[in-house]
Subunit: 157 residues, 2 copies
């Protein structure tokens, strides 16, 4: 990873942290165009928006598309702190995102290296370049801390 | 299929037809609660909304969740004219939809019986009851006609 790429992932991590403060599972996603302009930076909002599709990646894709006025994000890069699920991985493909960088692996809910392995199928028409494990420790820790805290709160009830 | 179920799929087909008129790939989706109340009925709007995630199922799920004020559609049924893709199939799982009825099979883009086969993985935490092939011929024909017409228009240019 270049310093530039680490900087973008740190911004996605910052979004994840903001999500945790608001009670959302802390996952953050950021989309940049080919010139390095940030088109969108979002965190999960499934609970706040009462929307099961409101993962950070989905919100970022929708916002970035609105910004450029087109339903494809050609030559764009998506940074996300956690391995995307099958829903988000498929949306990334539909949006024609060129490169996907993600942080922590998600053996339970991931759809890139785990479960559905969305990009491995013949019927997947656009496969982004993928690199996982970026700042993986930090990206994973914020999630572990969040769920540890949640369990503690539930025990205290 | 009961008459009732056929009626709901016909309404989803009607939504698909409306989508075709507006230039969208004609797929329609409808969500009903356990008492048979229609919570949402939508067609694909990816082009109109400039949103690659705006499949009929996604829009219907989001609308139904807003209507009931909760991010889960427990005991609800989703009717869709085409086999859901991996994105929509995963969203259906996240929304905890109880039953999924779909029309035409989609060997190229489907994610239920084809490609990612989202519900077959150990990591899929909620698997709806699924029945495909409902009014399959009609659901498929509207798509075939749409793409045939599109190819003709392109040839005429």
């Amino acid at each position: 990873m270049t310093d530039h790429q680490n900087t973008f992932m740190r911004q996605a991590l910052q979004a994840a942290t903001e999500g945790a403060v608001r009670g959302e599972v802390p996952v953050g996603a950021l989309i940049v165009d080919s010139e390095g302009n940030i088109l969108a930076c979002r965190h999960n909002q499934g609970i706040l928006l009462k929307d099961p599709t409101a993962h950070a990646e989905m919100l970022a894709i929708r916002e970035a598309c609105q910004k450029i006025g087109y339903e494809r994000l050609i030559d764009c890069t998506l940074y996300v702190t956690l391995e995307p699920c099958a829903m988000c991985a498929t949306a990334i493909s539909f949006a024609r995102i060129k490169t996907l960088f993600y942080g922590a692996l998600d053996s339970k809910g991931g759809g890139v290296e785990h479960g559905s392995k969305v990009y491995t199928h013949r019927t997947c028409h656009h496969k982004p370049e993928v690199q996982g494990g970026i700042l993986a420790e930090e990206c994973g820790k914020i999630l572990q801390d969040f769920f540890k805290d949640l369990r503690k709160k539930r025990q205290d009830l």
